[in-house]
């Protein structure tokens, strides 16, 4: 009997749990592009649950998507059996959502993660720019035990601001 991929405990993070956010959902997914849509659907609904509007929810889901896409493509080199851990929960001080992402893929020098210059119109290199721009807080670090950790936070923007464009 073949053993399927089993859940493993998430690697321990660089930050400790705090009064500023409370994880409500912990996930472990395999590094497969087909799982991006399910995770996105969950993210949008979690964002609505904490009070983010439709556009803000979409932008947070996009930031997470870009992080996962990079981990799948660059971190795990498109191996379909890598593990990715995702944690989501409301921020305590504002209406907002915090997402923490961890992998056990090869870690990379943060200087390599700049992405391309936007003036240089060509496919690729957009992911890092989008992630940085789409959320209020973006952190990206190598963990001492190997692998990476990404933090994304987005709070509710007042309707008047977010509906402006």
């Amino acid at each position: 009997m073949v053993q399927g991929p089993r859940a493993r405990p998430a690697p321990s993070g660089l930050t400790v749990q705090s009064v500023f956010h409370e994880p409500e959902v912990h996930m472990q997914i395999l590094s497969r592009p087909e799982l991006l849509a399910p995770v996105r659907a969950m993210t949008n609904a979690m964002a609505a649950r904490v009070g983010l509007n439709d556009i803000d929810a979409c932008h947070l889901a996009l930031a997470l998507d870009e992080a996962l896409t990079n981990i799948i493509r660059h971190g795990y080199d498109s191996d379909r059996n890598g593990r990715i851990w995702i944690e989501m929960g409301p921020l305590a001080l504002t209406q907002g959502l915090r997402i923490e992402i961890k992998d056990r893929a090869r870690s990379v020098n943060p200087d390599e993660l700049q992405g391309r210059d936007l003036e240089d119109i060509r496919p690729g290199g957009l992911g890092m720019h989008l992630m940085r721009t789409l959320v209020d807080r973006f952190e990206h670090a190598n963990r001492p035990d190997g692998g990476m950790q990404i933090v994304l936070e987005k709070s509710s923007t007042p309707a008047s601001v977010s509906n402006a464009s």
Partner: protein, 115 residues
Amino acid sequence: MNAGSTLEIAVETSGETTIVTPKGEVDMARSPLLRKSIADVMKAKPKRVVLDLSGVPYMDSSGLATMVEALQNSRKNQIPLLLCSLTPRVRSILEIARLNTVFTLCDGRAQALNG
């Protein structure tokens, strides 16, 4: 609905224009399908290509990259490429990627066909 993929792409012609209408979210798992559709359309050398995005509620950077590639292809082959009927979400994503000024955007399909 075909298993695993929920992106459907319709291709029609109107006069000398070819209209490509994807329906569904475009992400890393689905953008290769869109890339192939547009490449096939370009190969037939139509006078103009319109990408109708009314059925696309979401697009990630692999979708944007597909459209940038299509634009480069269209310039090389001198086939004008127009995007029309963007949903508010996709328009906002294009703006954040600062690609809204790079593409020719039309409000509706009629405008794209006459423009």
